[in-house]
Symmetry: C5
Subunit: 107 residues, 5 copies
């Protein structure tokens, strides 16, 4: 799933009938703007989890819903700056990380 | 879903039989040209919503239609310059954005 | 769908049984070489439409065919240089483009 | 499947009902952070195998689970530096590699 | 399908049960390392065809196998340097290419 930021609702008067009963949001995926069907009631500024692929259809409510990107959750706390630090491998940004662990220890 | 600009219709005389009954449009996704099946009657210059993945099949009319990109809606108003400003994090370009919101407030 | 150029057939003697009865072509998608199942009889030098995702299976002939990229049409006329001009927003390269249109005008 | 590093669990109080019974992890795919459903019990610092596309649904436990990225295995030993060397074509980093082999020799 | 180079087998002791009966290989897709299920018996150094999307499941043996990347064939002869020349549009690297062909000539 992608971590996206909600930018604003999208208005499309002329669209296919299967699309009409859900809100569409413009979301920011990295530096690319995409359109997602909103299944949780997000508002601009929210950091959200977006699911793609065929899972986006059922996440939008039914197997025949024509979505390839659906907002499935609002992230409680997301700090994009700390996230960048963690992505760059700065351990101070991720105190919970344990670099070494023997395999097979998970249930 | 992707936000694309319609460039022009595409003519392909030699194509598979399942493809024949729909219009194909060349669309611009960022700086990449792709081909989309048109389900709404878009014209060159329109900014449109394109759905991909398996959802593109049903959006094109039937579950067995061989599309992986279908135009599902025409965007009423789209300003690509303002969109770039919003993507870059300029708040003036997005007066509706609310940077902070407590979790759980959506329905 | 992707706009690709056919480069050459691909020979793979050791391959899964489900794959044997179709021709494989090396195609160029931008600067990346991929392998596509050929459903239309393209030859090297052709500009073709390639469908991906789950639609590539049925486009190749049956729902159980293991393709994720299938050539579904040969483009009648494709000028890659003019295409680049259009992608860069040069209106002279696309005389049919109409920058402004009221929404709701499509059937 | 992707080779990702687990960064930390993700908390999302407001999410769709189908999502509630599985742990979500923030994983690093190259330099991009994504969210994956955890099917093996990984912990931060683990290098894991993530499956995407429609296979992510069944890997998460059922065909109707709305995941497009699922952690399906923990890699026993992964050295990202040696991996970079191998990707760059340094043979010393991959003593098992055999550059030339006649076709058809596999079972 | 992707053209990848097999780097080495991947060992993952702690993985989901549906995964256990097939070999996993680390493959190089351009400069990115991915994990593929091996359906043909490839060895390190082989250039192979990898199928993704939902087709990877059936290519791995059954519709419920949780793969999104499966090795489906070993390429008989692959010269990565010549491939780069062809991708760059050097005609000398591809004597079979015919730049111009009337449409409709394929069966």
């Amino acid at each position: 799933m992608l971590i996206c930021k909600v930018l604003k609702p999208l208005v499309s008067t002329n669209r296919i009938a299967d699309f009409q009963h859900k809100h569409l949001q413009v979301v920011l995926d990295g530096s690319t703007q995409k359109v997602a069907v909103d299944a949780v009631g997000a508002i601009p500024g929210d950091w959200v989890i977006c699911v793609g692929s065929s899972a986006a259809r059922e996440a939008a409510g039914s197997k025949s819903y024509p979505s390839d990107l659906t907002i499935v959750g609002i992230i409680d706390h997301w700090d994009p700056e700390a996230a960048k630090e963690m992505a760059a491998g700065n351990p101070a940004a991720n105190p919970a990380a344990t670099p070494a662990k023997p395999p097979g220890g998970a249930g």
